[in-house]
């Protein structure tokens, strides 16, 4: 028997004449963690959909050989029966059902008569949780009471319950912070010891370097190469070279010709309480300032309060009992709703563009102009459509949104281009201060570079830019100065020279210790 658990040979898959996969080969050894890399739209997800039977046998050409036999899957059930389980980027959990029920959804633990056996369900769920390091969770609570990181682990537990042998994880850490990601990756290494083979799709190359044994790179629907750890050069730069087809010596464009001006954004003594619990203080005595032309980072772990801070400043979109002052261009401003914030020349590019940023069924133009419309594209409430079209065309060109026309529906764009549309929407409001919350989450290397270029342009134009990011290298690569937030407070401020991943973590750790000392 060969030592390959999975061989996908010469896979070709066409969508109405367009080749999404063009002679792709993937060989995965039993018991390894195999990474799949490529820019968005390279064909990774399509390949996994072929493997898991989402695209049934016969709709593609080529062979899928799993455990020595050629597979003819017609749907997900067929592949799951063989022990192939795919966990998608978007979690497939039913938020209001209990953990136990979610773990066995579609795979119910039944008594002899076909009735759900709840005792068995709970017991077995507890066992599964233990295997993913969640042995202390109560299996009876609804899944939505857990954080995203733990929900991701529940997905893995669900896969374990299906007696998984080949586990496919599509961008499992996209929504997780560094700490949660690390935990998830360690669980993967643990599963490897238990003999489970994993395929991981990820844009986070440091994670791939950390966790995987081999990486297959796909570009434009073709297999480019497979690198093996310990044999080939296995660095991030090497993988990027394969993905983009050229050396990317600098992932962060150099910011030149920026003159840093006066402080134009200042928040003082900012205090915010939780929207559902008026006694729980979420942010305490936050003081930050940003100068014109400066890019300032907000670093911190998930739950540190960065998004909460941004949203509470942005027209009180989060929290209650908010106190403190905000000055923009030296003037104190009172923002009670988003409209006020926009009029005060503040823009907030939200995290999670699909949920908070875009009308996915709307056109590019519509999405770009919606926020700026009352002020710039209308007179007495009547829209000037021609101005809108001109502006949308201009921004499409300026920040390189790849689309057929500005009338294309945003939902059909790739993640990177969607993100550019959100950016354009806020640039069109002509702000002086921009807060970018996770501006490059879930988008590919090339699009990231373009977004960084936009950030540089904004700085050059004398805007104050705040970047919130869970990816520390991104903060380090883009920011002039960084505030580290921890548990709703400023744990420290780091200048460009002091800014390293270690420094940020130390800042957080020191702050935690101080906290413990106080209590």
């Amino acid at each position: 028997m060969s030592d390959y658990i999975l061989e996908m040979n010469h896979i070709i898959k066409e969508f109405s004449g367009v080749r999404a996969l063009d002679d792709v080969n993937l060989k995965v050894k039993r018991g390894e963690i195999h990474a799949l890399c490529g820019e968005n739209g390279a064909g990774k997800s399509t390949l996994m959909n072929v493997l898991s039977g989402v695209y049934p046998f016969g709709t593609y050409s080529g062979d899928v050989v799993y455990k020595g036999e050629t597979c003819k899957f017609h749907n997900l059930r067929d592949s799951e029966a063989k022990g192939i389980v795919i966990i998608h980027q978007e979690l497939a959990l039913s938020p209001l059902l209990s953990i136990a029920e979610n773990v066995f959804i579609g795979n119910e633990q039944l008594s002899a008569k076909g009735v759900i056996d709840w005792t068995k369900t709970r017991q077995r769920a507890q066992e599964m949780l233990a295997r993913v390091g969640l042995e202390h969770e109560d299996v009876n609570v609804p899944v939505n009471s857990l954080g995203v990181g733990k929900q991701q682990l529940i997905e893995i537990a669900k896969a374990m319950a299906k007696k998984v042998e080949l586990l496919i994880l599509d961008e499992p850490t996209a929504a997780l912070n560094d700490e949660e990601s690390k935990k998830l990756l360690d669980i993967m290494l643990e599963l490897k010891k238990q003999g489970i083979t994993c395929i991981i799709i990820s844009h986070k190359l440091n994670e791939i370097e950390y966790v995987s044994d081999a990486v297959t790179i796909i570009r434009d629907g073709k297999t480019i190469e497979t690198l093996v750890k310990g044999v080939d050069d296995y660095t991030e730069d090497r993988v990027i070279k394969g993905m983009v087809g050229r050396e990317m010596t600098n992932r962060y464009p150099v910011r030149e010709g920026v003159t840093i001006g006066d402080t134009i954004f200042e928040v003082k003594d900012w205090n915010v309480y939780h929207p559902d619990d008026e006694n729980r203080q979420v942010l305490k005595d936050i003081n930050i300032s940003v100068k014109a032309g400066e890019v300032v980072g907000l670093a911190g772990l998930m739950g540190a309060g960065r998004t909460e801070f941004a949203m509470s400043v942005f027209g009180h979109s989060y929290g209650q009992k908010i106190s403190g002052t905000v000055k923009i261009n030296g003037q104190e401003v009172h923002m009670h709703n988003v409209r006020d914030a926009i009029n005060s020349k503040l823009a907030y590019v939200s995290e999670d563009r699909k949920v908070y940023g875009l009308n996915l069924i709307g056109e590019i133009k519509e999405n770009m102009t919606i926020a700026a419309r009352p002020k710039f594209f209308s007179k007495h409430g009547v829209i000037n459509s021609n101005d809108e079209i001109v502006a949308a065309e201009e921004y499409k060109k300026r920040i390189n949104v790849k689309a057929n026309s500005i009338e294309q529906v945003v939902g059909s764009l790739s993640g990177g281009n969607q993100q550019k549309v959100v950016l354009a929407k806020w640039m069109l409001t002509q702000p002086d201060v921009l807060i970018l919350d996770e501006p490059t989450r879930g988008i590919d290397v090339g699009a990231k570079y373009e977004i960084y270029c936009v950030i540089n342009d904004l700085a050059k134009a004398g805007k104050a830019v705040i970047v919130i990011s869970s990816e520390m290298p991104e903060i380090i690569g883009t920011c002039d100065r960084t505030y580290v937030l921890n548990e709703g407070r400023i744990a420290g401020e780091l200048s460009k020279d002091e800014l390293t991943q270690e420094q940020i973590m130390q800042c957080i750790m020191a702050h935690n210790r101080k906290d413990d000392g106080n209590e």
Binding site: V338, Y356, N359, L360, G362, E366, I370, G381, K425
Partner: protein
């Protein structure tokens, strides 16, 4: 500067339902041996469907938010009852009756809007409540009896015609007012198209091939002339048509060209994103439902005027006709997509089906089956075609 001329084909999808409307009409013309082509029948189509069109316009805004208003049928009855009581029992001026009816519609709309927007109660529940309460109130006010007959000046709203100038023509009469309106409409249509092409050229946008534009204009002109010629051969322009055209134009403008109108689309597409784009979504919800109340009142006035009486059963099931019109007209059930013209075309598809089947001699029972099937078919085609694209 890119001086290359950009030319793209007309997007036929935009006209799909409109073509279906013409096809259905032609099919019934063949089936009924041309009975539905008669001037009297064209006039009936307008008068019988006036209130459905008015309700469909308001309902579209609700559907755009991803919801429906189940209460409109009851509000039609309630406002109609109030108007009837003022006219018959109190013998008051018809303007008072209309004003009171509109105010009641406004009040019901604001009531529903308040619960939906500011207390966060699901629209389905709130409007189910207004549906029950409205119907109950109507029966109470009318003591379960029909109120009528209503005065002539009031009836004019639903059954009257604009002044006519009739001349003898081809063995009958021809109303010159209709012909003049048709001429004006034709000129306006051609000018609007020319202006649109000029604007596109000025901004260097893509234009459609000349022959396609000409064909589109020709089809529209034929329809306009057919329609107005038939009306001219009958009694001239029904007053209901004026109300309809004004409302259609007004709401088509609001939904496509105003900030507030587009906010409804943004809300329907993604409420959270709309909020974070500076849109007060509560306010949008409030006004959409308030507006529905007002338009229900207008429909109530038109209906009682046409029937010359207020009845407690009036408007029963109208909400379903209005909702179906929106969906047949291509509005997305989840909200965020749909047009006023689509909803109007949807309303007329239902109207032509009703009318054609009646003329052909099918019973109302069969008519319901067919209408149900058409609704299901239209939405299925819409959903499937979108799925293919995605």
């Amino acid at each position: 500067m890119n001086d290359k001329k950009k030319v793209v084909n007309l997007d036929m999808k935009q006209y799909g339902m409109f073509l279906a409307l013409i096809a259905i009409y032609v099919i019934f013309a063949i089936m009924t041996g041309g009975k539905n082509l008669s001037p009297a029948n064209i006039n009936n189509l307008i008068m019988q469907n006036g209130y459905v069109v008015i309700l469909a316009i308001g309902m579209l805004l609700c559907v755009l938010t991803g919801n429906v208003d189940l209460g409109v049928g009851s509000v039609v009855a309630l406002t109609g009852a109030a108007a009837g009581i003022i006219l018959v029992d109190y013998k008051m001026n018809m303007w008072v009756a209309i004003l009171v009816a509109i105010l009641i519609g406004l009040a019901v709309g604001m009531f529903a809007g308040f619960f939906i927007a500011y207390l966060g109660i699901p629209p389905f529940v709130v409007t189910l409540a207004t549906m029950l309460m409205g119907r109950g109130l109507t029966y109470t006010l009318l003591k379960a009896q029909t109120k009528g007959p209503l005065p002539d000046d009031y009836i004019y709203i639903g059954a009257g015609f604009l002044p006519t100038v009739k001349v003898n023509f081809a063995g009958g009469t021809l109303d010159l007012v209709c012909i003049i309106v048709a001429v004006i409409a034709s000129i306006a249509l051609v000018l609007a198209e020319m202006k649109s092409i000029a604007t596109k050229k000025k901004y260097n946008f893509a234009t459609n091939p000349m022959w396609q534009v000409a064909l589109k204009l020709a089809v529209m002109l034929v329809i306009i002339w057919f329609f107005f010629y038939k009306l001219a051969r009958y009694n001239g322009l029904p007053f209901v048509l004026v109300i309809m055209v004004v409302l259609i134009a007004l709401y088509a403008f609001i939904t496509s060209k105003t900030v507030s109108g587009r906010q409804i689309y943004a809300l329907g597409g993604n409420r959270k994103a709309a909020n974070l784009s500076g849109i007060d979504t509560n306010k949008v919800f409030f006004w959409v439902y308030t507006n529905m109340g007002i338009l229900s009142a207008v429909a109530g006035v038109v209906l009682t005027a046409r029937n010359a009486a207020s009845t407690p059963k009036a408007g029963d099931g109208f909400e379903m006709d209005a909702i179906a019109s929106c969906y047949i007209g291509g509005a997305a059930v989840a909200g965020g997509a749909g047009t006023i013209l689509g909803a109007v075309v949807g309303a007329f598809i239902m109207g032509i089906l009703n009318n054609g089947m009646s003329l052909y001699g099918w019973s109302t029972d069969i008519q319901k089956i067919v209408k149900g099937a058409v609704l299901l078919g239209a939405v299925t085609v819409d959903v499937m075609s979108k799925r293919k694209k995605g």
